[in-house]
């Protein structure tokens, strides 16, 4: 039995790529090492009656064209919007960013009348930039140094989008590409909690602080999250992020894709510098015209392919490609809702995100700890309570809380141990309890996932949630390596489709889709 394509890894990008290839009539097999598909986008009943999105936990960047093309709603995807962001403050005050314009303006004005006005203008500028950058997400990134006419066409195409931006906004975009998130936001706002909470989206998943240059762009990357044509809209998948993967898998299967779980690929079969299949652990060989790897660049090139098949520049680039996982997850099963001192009782503020980011200094200090190999004593947290939106995630009246934590450096001094994992869990619960003292008494079960756990369980190198840092030196035509950013590899018939390729991570699926189009474009 010979397949047209074998996909290594049933993460969301592998599944998206498979679904698009199958849609084009290809015979596709997806091989997943674990007992279920989804990679880091998966839900699990970790504690009886409580379902956790164990790793990734929100949806926004998932490209709307993928939702449409693959008919994901028909296959069970239902996105519930997260409608606010609460930032509790140490003195008992708080800042909430609401979806409703009037409500938001009133809340911001409580902190600063100037910021309340600047907020709309800021939103408009980011909207324009997101529109200019958006087409870049759906294309193989053109390399300005390339001599390939196809890339020139892409570049010209891009230029037209930038022209639409106008001179002034193009300059603003340049700033956004080069500045730190904190500096960029300083140009706009004066409220510390607002700047800190906004700058936090510039550091997510990255071993950088809000004052590190380049983080402003990541801010924009997250702003491009889009629901129903509206930028900066974040949501939560009913049933957890596992339902995103399940819907993509169902769509791929409906188009004839085969999925095999518990199938670990050991090597890509290469003959005469051409990939023609894979070998599984245990020796089984599977033949295929092409092989597509959804694994991260290091696993793909240095693990599955092997240095001997690769040019030395690429090997060097991949060795230098930075992972440095910095994020952890703490998942809590709660007997009751947390009660925040600043906004007591249950309320709509618990239906949105809760951000522990009282000031830019607070975030930068959290980074300082990590810079020297320690867990942040007071970490940055991005918290959601999915059971508020989808009661089926927990028994009636009980809740699940998902806490994204930064910084928990992969390269921890002394390395990760069980004791360190629990210390991280304690730092998170202790810090959060300062804002919601009743939390500790409500915890029924605690799951702590460190970068080392992410690497061990999901296979993401150094636990980096984006398959490699989203920092400027490894984005666009440099992701994952110069000359090999367009989903191809030096091995003929071998392609990459993971978020280690352009445009990067965040349960976007764009890498998988772009890879499928690159493959279909070359082979038709």
């Amino acid at each position: 039995m010979k397949y047209d394509a074998v996909i290594i890894g049933g993460g969301h990008n592998g599944l998206v790529c498979a679904a698009y290839l199958a849609r084009a009539g290809k015979k596709v097999l997806v091989l997943e090492r674990r007992e279920r598909v989804g990679g880091a986008a998966m839900s699990e009943e970790v504690f009886p009656g409580f379902r956790f999105s164990v790793f990734s936990y929100v949806v926004s960047l998932l490209r709307p064209e993928i939702i449409r093309d693959l008919e994901l709603p028909r296959h069970g995807l239902h996105i519930l919007p997260l409608e606010s962001t609460l930032t509790p403050l140490p003195g008992g005050d708080y800042l909430v960013q609401w979806n409703d314009h009037d409500q938001n303006r009133r809340e911001l004005a409580r902190h600063s009348l100037r910021d309340a006005e600047a907020y709309d203008e800021f939103g408009l500028v980011l909207h324009h930039m997101a529109r200019a950058i958006k087409p870049l997400l759906a294309m193989a990134p053109p390399d300005p140094t390339s001599l390939d006419p196809r890339e020139w066409i892409s570049l010209l195409h891009l230029r037209s989008f930038f022209e639409q931006l106008g001179k002034e906004r193009f300059h603003a975009l340049h700033k956004l590409l080069t500045m730190s998130a904190a500096d960029y936001l300083d140009e706009w706002f004066e409220t510390e909690a607002l700047k800190a909470t906004k700058s936090a989206s510039g550091i997510i998943g990255t071993m950088l602080g809000p004052r590190s240059p380049g983080t402003a762009y990541v801010l924009l990357h997250h702003y491009m999250g889009e629901l129903d044509g509206v930028f900066r809209a974040w949501g939560f998948a009913k049933g957890g992020n596992g339902s995103v993967s399940a819907a993509i898998a169902a769509s791929a299967q409906a188009r004839g894709t085969e999925i095999r779980v518990n199938a670990t690929v050991e090597k890509v079969l290469i003959k005469n510098s051409r990939a023609n299949g894979v070998v599984l652990e245990g020796g089984e060989e599977i033949a295929a015209d092409i092989v597509v790897s959804g694994a991260d660049p290091r696993r793909t090139f240095l693990g599955l392919v092997g240095e001997k098949h690769l040019p030395s520049e690429l090997v060097d680039s991949i060795r230098r490609f930075r992972f440095r996982g910095a994020s952890a997850k703490v998942n809590l099963a709660l007997g009751e809702l947390p009660d925040f001192t600043c906004l007591p009782g249950p309320g709509p503020h618990l239906r949105g995100a809760i951000s522990i980011s009282p000031s830019v200094d607070y975030l930068e200090r959290a980074y300082d700890d990590a810079k020297y190999g320690e867990i942040s004593r007071r970490p940055y947290m991005d918290i959601v309570i999915p059971s508020m939106l989808d009661p089926a995630m927990a028994p009636p009246g009980k809740h699940v809380m998902s806490i994204f934590v930064q910084y928990a450096p992969y390269h921890l001094s002394g390395g990760w141990t069980d004791a360190k994992r629990e210390a991280l869990g304690d730092a998170v619960v202790d810090t959060l309890s300062e804002y919601a003292p009743s939390l500790k008494g409500a915890i029924l079960h605690r799951q702590v996932v460190t970068p080392a756990d992410i690497e061990r369980i999901v296979g993401l190198t150094e636990g980096n949630i984006f398959q490699g840092e989203l920092s400027l030196q490894q984005m666009f035509f440099l992701r994952p390596a110069p000359a090999w950013s367009r989903y191809r590899t030096p091995v003929r018939g071998l392609y990459q489709c993971g978020s280690g390729t352009h445009p990067g991570g965040g349960v976007m699926g764009a890498s998988g889709r772009n890879a499928a189009f690159a493959i279909l474009g070359e082979r038709q």
């Binding site: 709307p64 409608e83 409703d100 129903d228 044509g229 930028f231 939106l389 009661p391 089926a392 009636p396």
Partner: protein, 393 residues
């Protein structure tokens, strides 16, 4: 002054948006929160509680009760079982729809009918010479609709919920309050409608909200309901069709066949109002069809891109008449439309000339982009747009 429903004392303080609307002479909430979006998602992911008391409700009793209903509606009610609820329309002598609603058989000789418009006089006039009593109980009975995947669990937690099949009804007690529960609704989701004497209305509301809290219940208004009913492909009087009673010209009227309700017309029963005309229409086929259409995203996006804008979709359901074209001429009109949050599709309900109404037929719909009338591609698709398994399961 508009009338207040039996639940008004509870709904009024919850209505943060101060957005109210009229419904059959009553005042009801459009949305409780500032935006209706969360209320909508509760219908599909948790539980939403609607005050539907303004519905017209008629008690029809007597040995000829079944005969009366058989005479006026298009469905065969003589064969309905006790505990069964039937959805039906009813027509004038020309076979044009007057109204639509449900008829529940409470006993061999007792029915409860719901309607969007007043129908007492019409029912009484048709009862001439029959052993039947028609009573308007609209004001004495309050009604709540509990819709969403968690609705069953909420009712189960409140008392003994008889295992009701889809479109069945039973008497029971919820936290000791005698009520009737029917597994019906206007959302196309798992859900129930609960009928309660006016005096017990507030206690019932409190019980549902109390137990519902653990299940993510939210009171929900008409904006959310409107989105859900379009997804469910359910038509609305005065929006998607005009009652023959109110039509000024014949072209404003619609027959059940034209409204895609052929399945509710039983031509085999002896006689009923409008039968002769409907027989004739069935023979020659309706000239219009009421269909679902889906507006093509890429086509819509192109129009907005040309205007230099990101694509915009309506935030709430619209209910205006929008022209539909094919081969350069107008072949129909859409009457309600919505950006479906659950399907991520722009959908609408429309009247289309029979020749263009087949599933898959391609049309164009008028879209106003930046004050300019443009046309986007659209396609006739099957209704309901959204039809989860749990609705019937």
């Amino acid at each position: 002054m508009l009338k207040q429903t039996p639940f008004h004392a509870r709904t009024a303080p919850l209505c943060q948006s101060h957005a109210w609307r009229r419904w059959a002479g009553y005042v009801v909430a459009s949305s409780y929160e500032l935006s209706h979006e969360r209320e909508y998602h509760c219908i599909r992911a948790a539980a939403a509680l609607f005050d539907i008391s303004p519905l017209f409700k008629y008690s029809i009793r007597g040995s000829d009760a079944a005969r009366l209903l058989d005479r006026v509606t298009t469905r065969d009610l003589s064969r309905s079982q006790v505990g069964q609820v039937l959805y039906t329309g009813w027509c004038d002598g020309a076979g044009k729809l007057l109204d639509d609603g449900t008829v529940a058989r409470l006993a061999e000789d007792a029915f409860l009918m719901t309607a969007a418009d007043p129908n007492l006089r019409w029912l009484q006039d048709n009862a001439l010479g029959l052993e039947v009593e028609v009573e308007d109980i609209s004001e004495s009975v309050g009604a709540l609709s509990l819709q969403g995947p968690q609705s069953r669990q909420i009712l189960e937690a409140l008392g003994e919920l008889p295992s009701l099949k889809y479109f069945r009804r039973a008497e029971t007690k919820l936290r000791g309050i005698p009520v009737s529960v029917s597994r019906t609704g206007y959302t196309g989701d798992l859900g129930y409608e609960i009928w309660v004497p006016r005096d017990n209305a507030l206690a019932l509301w409190d019980a549902l909200m109390d137990v519902g809290r653990g299940h993510g219940i939210m009171p929900a208004g008409m904006l959310a309901l409107d989105m859900a009913r379009i997804e469910a492909g359910l038509m609305l009087l005065d929006v998607d069709y005009v009652s023959a009673r109110k039509a000024l010209i014949e072209s404003q009227t619609s027959s059940p066949y034209e409204m895609d309700l052929a399945w509710t017309v039983d031509l085999s029963k002896p006689n009923f109002v409008g039968k002769r005309s409907l027989e004739e229409e069935a023979r020659r086929g309706p000239q219009w069809r009421f269909v679902g259409i889906e507006i093509d995203w890429d086509s819509l996006e192109r129009l907005y891109t040309e205007a230099g804008l990101a694509t915009r979709v309506p935030q709430a359901a619209w209910r205006t008449s929008v022209p539909l074209y094919a081969a350069g001429e107008q072949v129909g009109y859409a009457t309600s439309g919505v950006w479906s949050l659950v399907l991520k599709k722009y959908i609408a309900l429309a009247h289309v000339r029979a020749g263009w109404a087949g599933t898959g037929s391609t049309l164009e719909i008028e879209i106003t982009v930046e004050h300019h009338r443009r046309r986007a591609a659209a396609r006739v698709v099957k209704k309901p747009f959204f039809d989860p398994e749990r609705k019937r399961k």
